[in-house]
Subunit: 354 residues, 5 copies
């Protein structure tokens, strides 16, 4: 299956703006969790359907509604109606092969990003889509399956740590985005460590296995890059937005986040270049090794081929071959062979081959 | 024949703005089909000439006139007069080697794109030109031959599915464009799948055939890229147009389409890089294989060349060659050869050649 | 002689703005031809000097004055005075190594381009400079020698074909520019066809001759690119000009011309990439061939070297060499050699070398 | 450990805006040094805590407070409160893996850069973070450990050299930035000298050791680039800032600094390209050497292989082998061998192999 | 010594804006020459110090003051005071490793460029710095040593040739800049000629010497590029300057100069690409040659190795070896060898190796 461009086949020919779940179903049932808070109160609950959530929206509190699982179209459509989401938003949420982007609608801001995980089973990095709706006093997040990436954020809201309880939904959105970008950092850093280790190993050993690692890292970096690179523009776009939904106090944080994404992209670039350098080292090693092998072959051949020839001469059966009959011929013969061999060795020495 | 730049020879030296059919004639006769609809009514018909179409234009309904076949200059000129098309538009429609672009005229918007198909016979991707005229209450589409790519759109109009019947000609234009871009997705995804498969195969086998596939995919990607890359700018241009022909409600959809084209271009870029990586793997494999072959040669030569030399020594016919006459010479000789051979093997072992 | 940067030596140290003919003299005598027309009348004449041309300028007709040959400084200076051309314009006209560009002066627009021809004698592409002055009711064109590239335009003016007789000097300028760009198309297409053919040939045969062709095409593409690439900017610049000399009705045509130049540049880029790919194929072929040659060497050597060694053993003259005296030794010996040879063949078979 | 992207693990999951020291502790205790001056007076002191510094801030004098060591969170927080620093500023100061950048806050400008040193122990370049706060009449600098890079600046302030004592805090900031950029110059120049030396050495000798140097320089350049490249944008940003904190008289100096950073980036680029060229030379050398080795092998083999064959022929024991019994056979045989050998030598001579 | 980034060590740690001569002293004594002219009068003089120059400044005439030699700080400082030059200007003038740039000050425009010469002794291109101050009625030029590059300009001023005597100091500045850029042209053209010659030579011969030339040209191009590339921006910047010091009549000339610098940069780019192509040809040649050598080795080995084996067989001393005793064995044996050899030759023929 093409990994870099997932099949959109299922909804090919569909009317655009029709939400159809495109992706693998990763969860049995949609799970809807709500955290509703203001500086003083906090309410946490899990709902069977989105209906009862209305009561949290009429208040001034910040409501974070998290929906895990995107395959239940009924739930998604219900949410869409309740929050008056544009059909395209619904389509983007359910079609899990979106490029990271930000779209401003009249009543809300829609952000779609990728969360990256290392999949131990297939030994490769996988991306899951996170959709986020930023409304005036609520945040909607849609994940493909139940994950624990936002657990620290939940902890912090519960424990009233940091500014989070005193600021609005825009700050909550920022924290969630920051958590995701931090996760990119962690992932690239792990990969980077392995790549830098590979460099040391490559100098010592040149096995095909190392080459496979090298190509594997290259591919994983490409894969990460595809998900991570557009995030910077997304954040920049969000930062420059002239919208009441993003408060001035949050802009400084978003600027910081933008710098962070620049740093992530820089690191991706550095590791890409490093891999190219490693490939060069690998190639050079192969070339050097070939030279060494051929040198051994040449030295042995060049020394012994003439010697064998001379032995052949005195193995001929000519009737009149005077040298054969001298008393010390055999020893003179050996002497001559030695002289030739030493001469060759001296020649190679001078050429710095040995 | 040059595939990447079709002959414009036929109209070389022609006055610009003269519509001359440049391309292969792909259809016997031009076919004119009209779908005329409003939320309530729908009329579908096929006309022998463009004349009778006037009656659909005076009403408020949306009329989609599709013309298959571009070689009948009379039809094209008749259409041009009826819709007051600029001579350059007519020339662009009939000259089927246009770069995707968008041009705004006073009364209409002209868009030209490429539809891509996989041609089973020649085993390569072929591009056909689609021209589209967006007018206030009509859409004109010109195709080189009868195709089925828009059939799902027709179905949807007939069945009143989605928004299409309630919105204007601009939305219809969007749906048609979206259908084409979706088709790019499908095509690139098919190619991408094969490229990713090739990667796995290349690690195992390094035949010249694989190299040919690799170069073939590279060329096809170039060909797709030539048709697809300018589409993004075309859509962006359309989106930024300050024209009454494009309603505000359709702009959101166009923005979504623009993001889609970005994604298409990203994917093309990723697969290009992947192919370059594959070429590198291929080269490295050739180099490694050479090393392996030469290693076998060297090991055999280096072991047997001295042995043969020693055999040659005792094959000489010197009269006084003392060793020949000792009782166990032959067995000592064999012993010496074995020692030499084992010494060599040990040497190669230490060098990690075997 | 440096082909990519012609000697400016002749006028090095000259005051800028002094018209000095820099180039080879390609024509005996300057030739001045005038076509003067309005929708109704047409006058065509050839003048010995520029003086009598004044009478055509006072009327409302469009006058196209074409001057072939740039070495007669008197003629050039006379023209300069008559049309009040800036000294820099005169210098640019006569110095035939200009980069394509457009300069706006108070009374006229100056455009300089390259016309490209394939020079059969030297078997390379050569560029000739075309300078064009767009005035309110006249066009001046300066060519290095008499060419036939504009003959179709002359024919069309004579035959009242197209819009040309009814529109002004700006439209005539457009037609001339379009003719030149069309010629680029033709040239690149011819080259492209040969490059695409080369691809097929390279897969079959890998001669040094093919490599020379490849490098030749590369150089010619560079040469074309140098002349053609800046044309797009020139046209864009002309299109964006806020000048009364360019009418609104002609802008649509210039926009179309701009798209055409984009297409030309795209094609140049595609062919450049294709040549790089071909070079890669060439290199890979060399590598594969080396592998094949070495494989043959290795197989033969590895099989026969041990056999020869064994033959050598039984060619020794040891007095006590028991095997020599058994009755079937010779046949057993052959049997052993066969076993060894078959073993080797089996080994290579398993390694997929044969 | 990943060198190009330091672990942010420690504060992963932390609320953004929480200052947590991320880095190695490089100093036992924070050291706070103050230089307070105006054109007439100068006071220099070292404080145990930041508290007593208040008295310098109420005056019109310029106060430069330098804090070495970032691990004592109490000190950092105290400073933060006293100067009303934004939580993000505090986080950026203590997290020592920032990308160089400039952020404008209401009351101050925050700049973060890297100081680069050559670490003799690990034989590689290391970066230390310098944070700078530019306030109306004070400068705060934060370093990871006690360094001597700013000693010349201190000397100059003490000795009233240059303009520094008569201009404000913005000029002091400029001098500090200039000192850092000058240091980049020095570092790159040292590296550049070694790279240019390597070029000369590579032509003579092609050892694996040289290749390692080459890769080492490449990596160090990448490392420098990561720290230095964004500095230009930082300075440009600072220069374009519409802030009262930067006086008009200082802008000329900042412009000069901006040009300097452009020059630094150019030099980095030139050396990068040079290294790529060197790698090419290295590869070419390996290839040439292989050719030479194989040539020696081929010449020897091709000459002696036929000779040995002929010796073999006359070593056969055929009963009826007429040549063996002629009187001068042996000498004719030698003559024939010589003719063959000389013929081969002549052949190689003509091929210019010897 | 690092050639691409000259040591700034001498003034490292200096206060910015302190003029310190950084460079080699290339002249014994500073030389101050003045040319003062208006359309009617001309005065030329050489002064021992700058003091007496005041009298030329109060008049309306254009004064061109040229100072050769930058090591005498007293002279430089005196000039600085007299013309009220900014300290940074003085520093830039004396520090001879500036990147080409333009800076506007209140009373003058400062331009710094590189003049390029071919140094016959060291056989490389060297750059000397030219600083120019454009004032309302004067031009100051600072050169590192006495050069003759501006002699033609002096001649022209003396002989009242061209516009120079009737226009102001801005036109003089333009002429001087044009002279320098023309010199770039000349230099690049000389280099380009050699590079194009090298191409022809490389096809015939592949010596290491050619490779060294190739790398030498590459380095020289890099060196030129470093000095020449930023000139375009400098001129563009000057052209766009909203300053009274640059008259409208001179802007056309500066536009022309800007086009010239574009052309210079294009040529540099073309030659860089050409060198890369040449390197590719070189590599391919090495590869082809290796193939050829190995082919010779293989053909000889593969033919003679089996023959030698068969000779070895009949050299064995088996007691019962029936073939040895047949009458025509020896001739049959030769026949068999010939058949084998011819078979091999036929095989190679079919493989197109011979």
């Amino acid at each position: 299956m093409a990994r870099f461009l997932k099949k959109r086949l299922k909804n090919k020919g569909e009317i655009p703006g029709t939400p159809v779940f495109v992706g693998e179903q990763k969860l049995e049932k949609c799970r809807i969790r709500i955290i509703d808070y203001d500086p003083k109160n906090l309410e946490e609950t899990e709902l069977p359907s989105i209906g009862p959530a209305t009561k949290y929206l009429d208040t001034d509190t910040v409501s974070w509604i998290n929906i895990d699982g995107l395959h239940d179209m009924d739930v998604i459509n219900e949410v869409g109606e309740m929050f008056r989401l544009h059909p395209l938003t619904l389509e983007d949420i359910t079609n899990t092969d979106q490029r990271p982007k930000m779209v401003e609608y009249d009543e809300y801001i829609y952000i779609v990003l990728k969360m990256l995980f290392y999949d131990d089973k297939n030994e490769e990095i996988v991306a899951e889509q996170l959709s986020m709706i930023i409304g005036p006093n609520y945040i909607l997040t849609f994940q493909e399956r139940i994950g624990d990436i936002f657990d620290p954020v939940r902890q912090r809201i519960r424990k009233q740590k940091g500014r989070v309880r005193t600021l609005g939904s825009d700050y909550l959105a920022y924290i969630l985005l920051d958590t995701i970008v931090d996760n990119y950092f962690y992932l690239i850093e792990s990969l980077g460590e392995k790549i830098e280790d590979l460099e040391v190993e490559l100098i010592e050993e040149n096995s095909a296995e190392k080459l496979n690692s090298l190509n594997f890292y290259k591919r994983e970096l490409s894969y990460i890059r595809k998900s991570v690179f557009p995030v910077k523009d997304t954040i920049t776009h969000l930062l420059r937005l002239d919208s009441e939904l993003i408060g001035d106090d949050v802009r400084h944080f978003l600027k910081d986040l933008e710098d962070l994404t620049t740093q992530v992209n820089d690191a991706l670039e550095v590791y890409r270049e490093l891999l190219t350098d490693l490939l060069n080292i690998y190639h050079t090693n192969i070339g050097s090794k070939l030279n060494e092998i051929i040198k051994v072959l040449t030295i042995f051949s060049v020394i012994f081929i003439p010697l064998t020839f001379f032995a052949g001469i005195y193995g001929t059966n000519f009737e009149y071959l005077p040298e054969l009959h001298f008393r010390y011929s055999y020893f003179i013969f050996w002497g001559a062979l030695l002289v030739i061999a030493l001469g060759m060795l001296f020649y190679f020495k001078r050429k710095k081959w040995i």
